[in-house]
């Protein structure tokens, strides 16, 4: 931690918050978001593709399910700004708390609309498509909506938060 050389030490008794510095560059965060959602699309496409043929070998099914679980686990447990639900208020400053809360509000709206449309589409998929394809499509939609629900707030924060520039050198006194 940098030593403060000010002649005016803070004497007020306020709780010092450990600010998380594990933000990462904006490019890294956006790549991670795109990779995660693209990974889910690949997973959904693979499941859909395999469903047209004979029953896939058990190892392939386990690989698909296991891979998906690993990605989800990384999202849920990583304690970075990308996974801000894991960060408590005391670890963020007031601006970041506001930013996270705003992301949660927006994510809820998006999730509510996704659910509103996803539910009847899933129902129609089950009713109209034969050979269990409808149930599979409904399952893929369900997993997609669930993934949106668990990741969207943090994705919004991670996408928006600007690049953490290097702390500047002390400004020259004027």
């Amino acid at each position: 931690m940098t030593e403060v050389r000010s002649e005016h030490p803070v004497i007020a008794a306020w709780h010092r918050r450990p600010i998380s510095s594990r933000v990462g560059s904006r490019r890294f965060r956006r790549r991670l978001i795109i990779a995660t959602y693209a990974g889910w699309l690949v997973w959904a496409g693979s499941v859909k593709f395999l469903s047209y043929g004979p029953l896939p070998p058990i190892w392939l099914s386990l690989l698909l399910v296991g891979g998906n679980l690993v990605v989800q686990a990384v999202w849920v447990t990583r304690r970075t700004i990308i996974n801000t639900p894991a960060l408590l208020d005391v670890e963020l400053d007031e601006r970041l708390v506001q930013s996270r809360n705003a992301a949660f509000r927006m994510a809820f709206k998006i999730f509510a609309w996704a659910t509103l449309f996803g539910w009847p589409v899933s129902f129609l998929a089950i009713q109209l498509q034969p050979n269990n394809q409808g149930i599979l499509n409904a399952l893929i939609l369900f997993v997609g909506v669930t993934m949106l629900a668990t990741t969207l707030p943090t994705v919004i924060v991670a996408w928006r938060e600007p690049d953490p520039t290097e702390p500047e050198r002390p400004a020259a006194a004027q």
Partner: protein, 83 residues
């Protein structure tokens, strides 16, 4: 959008030769938030405003204002300058 609150954080920080990181560490915020405050992109809570004013050893109204500040040079030398 809430009206921006004017502040002199940038000037005061430059006067004292402090980096954003040093000020951020002293008042317990992320150093990026210091940049947000200086640009007027973020209005601080009352608690944070008091903390910053206390750190600079100045009254709150010397650091924050709802009206544009008169330049310090004008205040010091008594010359009226139109902003």
């Amino acid at each position: 959008m809430a009206p921006s609150i004017q502040n002199r954080i940038g000037v005061l920080r430059a006067e004292r030769g402090l980096s954003r990181q040093q000020l951020a560490d002293a008042v317990g915020i992320n150093y990026q938030t210091v940049g947000y405050l200086e640009r007027g992109d973020y209005n601080p809570s009352l608690e944070l405003a008091f903390r910053i004013a206390e750190y600079f050893g100045l009254p709150l109204e010397a650091v924050f204002s709802r009206q544009p500040f008169v330049p310090m040079s004008s205040q010091l030398y008594g010359k009226e300058e139109s902003a």
